[in-house]
Amino acid sequence: MEGFIIALFVCLVLALISKYLSVPAIPFYILAGIVLGQAGLGIVESDKVSTFFSDMGLLFLLFFMGLEMKLDRIIANPSKVLTGGLIGLTVDMGIGFIAAYLLGFTLMEAFVVGAAFYITSTAIVITSLIENRKLMSREAETIIWVTVFEDLVLIIILAVLSASDQNLLLFFVKVALALAFIYAISLYGKEFLISILERNDEIPILFTFAAVLTTASVAIYLEIPETLMVIALGAAFAITDPDAFEQHARPFRDVFMVMFFVFFGVTIDFVSGIDWFVVAIICTLAILSKLISGMIIGLVIHGSTLSGLEIWANMISRGEFSIALAVLYGSPIIATTIAIMVIVTSIVGAFTAKYSTWMRRGIISHSRKKALMYRPHGGK
């Protein structure tokens, strides 16, 4: 328990520092976990309490993702979401999966690594777009729709990974029934849910917490993935009053997510045969593959490589979803590889996102100079 308090306090300090420097906090939480945990000083150990908090972190992360998922909006702009999304999926998932397979992971492991390699951190991307004041750029909108598409793909990946070792027919019947039940409650109980959310006492926050936990535990009892069910709960509640649910779930998410990152770091263990060469290649490719996909998206959607560069600069960071995949489906070696990839890409990504305008200006002025120099009768 003391370890838990130490971890909490370290995170508080790190959060303050990262806010002050306006860089994403996620890599620092993981690094803190690694330093404090079994790979480092060994002060903090994961126990029942910390596991509970980490699990909550994951559940609330996914519940939030469900709340934010506006299916109607995706259906309204299918071309916007699909073009960029499909390019990203093919290029990044493809490169990640093939690289992992060639580097000696099994097919199943390569799929997990590829998925973690593919999926960008929505949290980091959105925050950095807001903080770096880039919302108006035409690339920003493209980037946002790509992250929306990635969220959808993540759901499919979760479904595929959790269905792979089950009786498929029974699995799908159970999932379909549970989904129908959740959706029916929010559709027919809409008025009731809204009346609960409008109260000024502790009921709304208690209700939100209970709804997420109940859904998760019922899912575990039915042997269907609680991750999917919690996302579905969020998506179903989004038809009532998503802003109110976000407001009530935010404190839980914010606290538990930090614990989720730290204790993910704590459980990382470098001694169990980690190949640094493989890790270095994965990290380098993680940055390069987003350059390729960014360039293609930039050329296809905006007809400009500079737009591609901007998309790349803002989409390098991997984060919460990659770690979620590592926690749920990764072996210790995969978890370590993904941890390092998240740390490297999110730190590199923080810099590229901050200085991309500057980078862009440099390229433009450079090419102008070149154009001037080659003008046959220009200058002296």
Binding site: T122, I130, R133, L135, M136, E141, I144, E246, T357
Partner: protein, 164 residues
């Protein structure tokens, strides 16, 4: 010429975006972000890099008041609302701090409505609001009065009542 094009868009995870293209070809975009701040971008015609300002809701409201063309002074605020459906009726609501010169006098006695056409709809005294004060209501120093009327009536109120 085409009228100004206003586009609003809900961006998942970010918030709501409003974009206006002016007749001269400049673009102004406003984002109400989920973090609670408001970002305003202006992009000059033919330029690539917009400039941005981040505002709190209070600051944004102030800016909005300035843009509607209402009278603004350092510590007094006013809001102008235009009802385009009612033949462009423009109603201004303005706050004034009661000066010493009219302390102790009543609304009836000052003949506010007869002289200016404006109406006092509320008075804030010691952090308490008195809504729709009666004609017999007497002002005290430090009161903040909320006056409603057309812009001309408000100007008249300012000239004739506030300096008396």
């Amino acid at each position: 010429m085409s009228a100004m094009a206003l586009r609003s868009l809900n961006l998942p995870g970010i918030g709501t975006k409003y974009e206006i293209e002016t007749d001269k070809g400049d673009t102004i975009a406003v984002f109400f972000t989920k973090t609670g701040t408001i970002q305003m971008y202006t992009l000059q015609k033919d330029s690539q890099t917009p400039s941005a300002a981040v505002m709190t809701p209070v600051e944004a409201r102030r800016l909005g008041n300035i843009l509607t063309g209402a009278i603004i002074e350092a510590d007094q605020e006013s809001v102008e609302i235009a009802f385009s459906a009612l033949a462009d009726l423009r109603i201004t609501i303005h706050t004034y701090f009661i000066p010493k010169s009219i302390t102790g006098r009543t609304i009836e006695d000052l003949q506010i409505r007869a002289k200016t056409g404006a109406t006092i709809i509320a008075v804030c005294r010691h952090d308490k609001n008195i809504i729709n004060p009666p004609p017999t209501f007497a002002f005290e120093t430090g009161d903040a009065a909320l006056v409603i009327g057309e812009s001309d009536q408000i100007k008249k109120f300012e000239r004739e009542i506030m300096v008396e």
